[in-house]
């Protein structure tokens, strides 16, 4: 471990780490654009200047290794002047696009300008004009005029996604980011370039003008898109969830996340959700209160098991629920003595893996479910259900949250409609369910951002998710539903998770720091 002094504070740093890593370790503030912990060092923005005792010239922090006993400071006037001019050089050809730029509010140029700039623009000559609003495919929009050529996105496509799509063409101040012949930038990790772009050059087409970033609050949680379990940051406000960004987690996903995982708002937001319970058949039925519906189902199940025997009822589970929910649901099935079947959505692609983050198994908690089924001692082969479904009275299904991964939803509904009744605990509102031929009752469940619990990813690593917001007030989590079905009453637990404490809307919102 090397000892050095940063702005008067003693710091212990590992061997061979650069000065900027030492700054990040101590949480000291240093201006930088082109350095990113997950990428190689480019050393081109020349903003992370530091003064080292015994060295007359200013050194860049990202490429200078820490030596024993180095005295480093970056808050002297010389540095402030250097950063001010470094920023000035970035801004002279930068277009005045802040009103129409999606990055406004979390743009590093704005942040550094407020800290180091605050000067009147000195350049009176004409700015260099470059191509704006370049269409780079379905996910990314490029604006080469705003680009500050820090080459983060180029290094990303070279080192992380290894697709070598982006490059810097031309030379000098006419250089432009782009793909060859404006080919779409379309690899499964392309939206990561939008996160690491410090300015508004690369914007994601999905989030582009939906919401201003200072209206959004963010919380860290775990993505439920597939079994990798990447740590993510969810951006939300009263109207719903707007976007998902990766959060740094060295053990699982480093600094990156796949584009599929960013699609979770599509099944979480209110417009695609089941808002209240429903009982009925072939599209006719009436809405119910979720709690009451769950209790009613509980009583009828007990009655059916008592009169016609436990083989008249079947439980179906999916890997979409947290460990706590699985245990509650499975122990309820055990008490009733009914058989439990595990619905695997895409058996042939289960153990696919693309080498970085995307896995074939699109359920966040398959590992946890298998563990719980072994622990509780339930679980029977799927073929048994297929053969015995027609003489079943009740099929209770803990349906999928992320119905995009469950393409076989329709034919499973047809299978279950052979039984007399089918009960679905599901988050999304699907017409195919309401149109089923037998009697159907739907009960809304919470999605992964509305409940506490833990997932176990593909290697069994337990990761906690937290209640971030409440989108559908009436929805139940599976634990609550199981408690109601087993006859107990739902007690309102006192400890609201403190992350949701009502704070001042603007001041609590931390600007997006890279």
């Amino acid at each position: 471990m090397l000892k050095c002094k940063i702005n008067g504070q003693d710091v212990e740093v590992a061997e061979g780490s650069s000065i900027i890593e030492a700054f990040k370790a101590t949480g000291q503030d240093i201006a930088h654009y082109c350095w990113h912990p997950g990428l190689s060092v480019a050393g081109v923005c020349r903003l992370c200047m530091v003064e080292i005792e015994g060295n007359p010239r200013l050194q860049i922090a990202c490429n200078t290794q820490v030596q024993e006993g180095m005295v480093i400071n970056n808050n002297s006037d010389k540095i402030k002047d250097a950063v001010k001019w470094g920023l000035d050089f970035h801004l002279i050809n930068h277009p005045l696009d802040c009103p129409i730029c999606a990055q406004a509010g979390e743009c590093q140029l704005q942040i550094q300008y407020m800290k180091f700039g605050q000067y009147d623009p000195e350049m009176a000559e004409r700015k260099v004009k470059k191509r704006k609003v370049v269409d780079l495919g379905p996910k990314i929009v490029l604006d080469t005029e705003r680009c500050i050529l820090c080459s983060r996105c180029v290094r990303f496509t070279d080192e992380v996604s290894k697709t070598n799509e982006l490059g810097i063409f031309n030379r000098g101040d006419h250089s432009e980011i782009g793909t060859v012949d404006d080919r779409p930038l379309d690899n499964p990790y392309s939206v990561n370039t939008v996160d690491i772009c410090p300015v508004g050059a690369l914007t994601s087409r999905e989030f582009r003008f939906q919401q201003r970033v200072w209206y959004l609050k963010n919380e860290t949680t775990v993505c439920n898109g597939c079994s990798t379990g990447c740590s993510t940051k969810v951006y939300f406000n009263e109207e719903g969830m707007w976007r998902v960004k990766p959060d740094h987690n060295d053990d699982v996903n480093g600094y990156w996340m796949c584009d599929e995982g960013r699609g979770t708002p599509r099944f979480v937001n209110k417009d695609s959700r089941l808002l209240s319970a429903w009982n009925g058949q072939k599209d006719e039925g009436q809405d119910l209160e979720a709690g009451a519906a769950a209790k009613a189902v509980g009583q009828t199940l007990k009655k059916v098991v008592a009169e016609q025997g436990s083989d008249k009822v079947a439980f179906v589970v999916t890997g979409q629920y947290t460990d706590q929910e699985n245990r509650a649901f499975l122990s309820l099935a055990k008490d009733l003595g009914v058989k439990v079947y595990h619905w695997v959505n895409n058996p042939e692609k289960m153990d696919e893996f693309d080498g970085l983050l995307i896995r074939g198994d699109k359920n966040p908690n398959t590992y946890g479910l298998k563990e719980a089924m072994k622990e509780v001692g339930v679980g029977s082969p799927w073929s048994e259900l297929e053969s015995s479904v027609s003489d079943l009275e009740y099929v209770v299904v803990a349906g999928p949250e992320n119905h995009f991964a469950y393409s076989d939803l329709t034919d499973k509904v047809d299978l279950f409609s052979k039984a007399n009744h089918q009960v679905w605990f599901v988050a999304g509102d699907h017409d195919v369910l309401r149109a089923a031929s037998n009697k159907v009752s739907l009960i809304p469940t919470k999605t992964y951002v509305e409940k506490d619990g833990t997932y176990k990813n593909f290697e069994g690593r337990e990761q906690r998710i937290r209640r971030v917001m409440t989108l559908v007030p009436g929805a139940l989590s599976l634990t609550e539903a199981s408690k109601l079905m087993s006859g107990q009453e739902l007690l309102v637990d006192g400890n609201v998770s403190e992350s949701y404490r009502k704070t001042n809307f603007f001041s609590s919102n931390e600007r997006g720091y890279l």
Binding site: A82, G86, A124
Partner: protein
């Protein structure tokens, strides 16, 4: 008067071919080198105090000493990019005496133990490329290259690599990036090329003239070599004189030769009726000398540094009183704006900004505070980037503004040049 060592046999026509070169003592030094141990040659070069002729003037022996002996393959690269405006000395050597370069490179490669070397020639020099390729083919046929050269057990391959038009590829690491098939953008230093250069392996980059001088250090020995030049800058150097002189061209004079004699004796002075106004002594990136300074300056690293300029690549550009300094600065800054590789922000935007300011002055739209702004912008470009191009753009600007400020202020106030009849030709 001239001391011709490198350019002794230039005038002979057959000196370009192998037979003509051998007839004038060619490849004798290679035989002698194989009798010595590599470290002996390095010590010889260090004792002779040979300094890099490309522009930085870094002692060659010391540079060769930086090579780490970790068993990795070493590369020797000859920097024949010669992009510095005003310089054309390497071109003449490669066209007239390619074997001199090849022999110098083989000796140097033997000294540093490198098995592969490249000559990186700029794409525009078509004749030099062909003559060097021809010389290398002749050397291969004569057993002077390839396996077990002249029975010494040392094998070495050499190849020519053409650039494609970028001044930045004259910079050491820029050239290495270009050789690796990438954009010629300089690499971050540290690690320096001697430790991690071409493909991450230890690499030595030397100028054409430096490598050729090694032969004559071996031939004449250290004291005969040090007879010419001053104590700190020994030996002779090729100077490319251009601009408003009667006889522009390459002249080989010992270092420490008075600049006045070079211009007025060897080059025949200025055109009739013209007076000397300024001299750029070391290529476009060297700060400018006023006429008075040029009269007293001598051509070596230390004296020119005292006058606030630098020897650089030895390209002397003589400027007489018919030229407008604002216009000249405009041309220089346009060159740097066009050639900046665009990697580091201060240089990419700074060169563009300086170019635009000087051209708004030339178009008569200049403001008085523009001059101080240029001063400040150039000041903040110095020492802020990966390579020295931003310093090379800033230093002439600062020196032009310091020594010819009246012309700039006149131009801003009057909207025209102080020099009569100098209409600003549109760029």
């Amino acid at each position: 008067m001239e001391v011709k060592i490198l350019s002794e046999h230039y005038h002979k026509d057959d000196f370009q071919g192998l037979t003509g070169y051998k007839a004038n003592g060619g490849y004798e030094m290679l035989k002698k080198a194989f009798t010595m141990k590599p470290q002996e040659i390095i010590d010889l070069v260090k004792a002779a105090g040979l300094r890099g002729r490309g522009g930085a003037g870094f002692p060659t022996g010391v540079k060769w000493g930086f090579l780490p002996d970790n068993g990795e393959p070493r590369y020797l690269l000859c920097n024949a990019d010669e992009g510095e405006p005003g310089t054309f000395k390497d071109r003449e050597m490669m066209e007239r005496a390619p074997h001199q370069l090849v022999e110098g490179m083989i000796i140097s490669a033997f000294a540093i133990g490198s098995k592969k070397s490249y000559i990186y020639i700029r794409g525009e020099y078509d004749d030099s490329i062909n003559s060097c390729r021809q010389a290398i083919k002749e050397a291969y046929d004569a057993g002077l290259l390839g396996k077990n050269i002249m029975g010494s057990g040392f094998d070495h391959d050499m190849d020519v690599y053409c650039g494609a038009g970028a001044y930045i590829c004259g910079e050491e690491t820029g050239m290495i990036s270009s050789l690796e098939g990438k954009k010629g953008q300089p690499k971050l230093k540290p690690p320096f090329p001697a430790v991690q250069g071409y493909l991450g392996k230890p690499t030595i980059v030397n100028n054409v003239e430096t490598l050729a001088s090694v032969i004559y250090i071996l031939r004449d020995g250290v004291d005969a070599y040090r007879k010419y030049g001053t104590e700190k800058s020994p030996g002779t150097k090729l100077f490319s004189v251009s601009g408003n002189v009667v006889k522009p061209g390459n002249y080989e004079v010992p270092l420490g030769y008075p600049l006045k004699d070079l211009i007025f004796d060897l080059c025949g002075g200025l055109k009739p009726g013209r007076k000397l106004k300024a001299v750029i002594p070391g290529g476009s990136s060297a700060p400018i000398l006023t006429a008075e300074e040029a009269m007293v300056a001598t051509l070596d690293y230390e004296n020119l540094a005292q006058h606030g300029s630098m020897l650089g690549s030895g390209a002397v550009m003589v400027i007489d009183d018919s030229n407008c300094m604002v216009d000249l600065l405009g041309v220089t800054l346009h060159f740097y704006h066009h050639e900046s590789c665009g990697q580091c922000t201060p240089c990419r935007e700074g060169t563009g900004w300086l170019d635009k300011i000087v051209h708004s002055i030339l178009d008569g739209k200049g403001r008085l505070q523009d001059i101080d702004l240029m001063d400040e912008v150039a000041g903040h470009m110095m020492g802020r980037t990966i390579c020295a191009l931003s310093d090379a753009a800033a230093m002439p600007t600062l020196s032009f503004l310091k020594k010819f400020r009246d012309e700039f202020e006149f131009y801003v106030r009057e909207g025209r040049s102080k020099v009569k009849g100098q209409a600003h030709a549109q760029m």
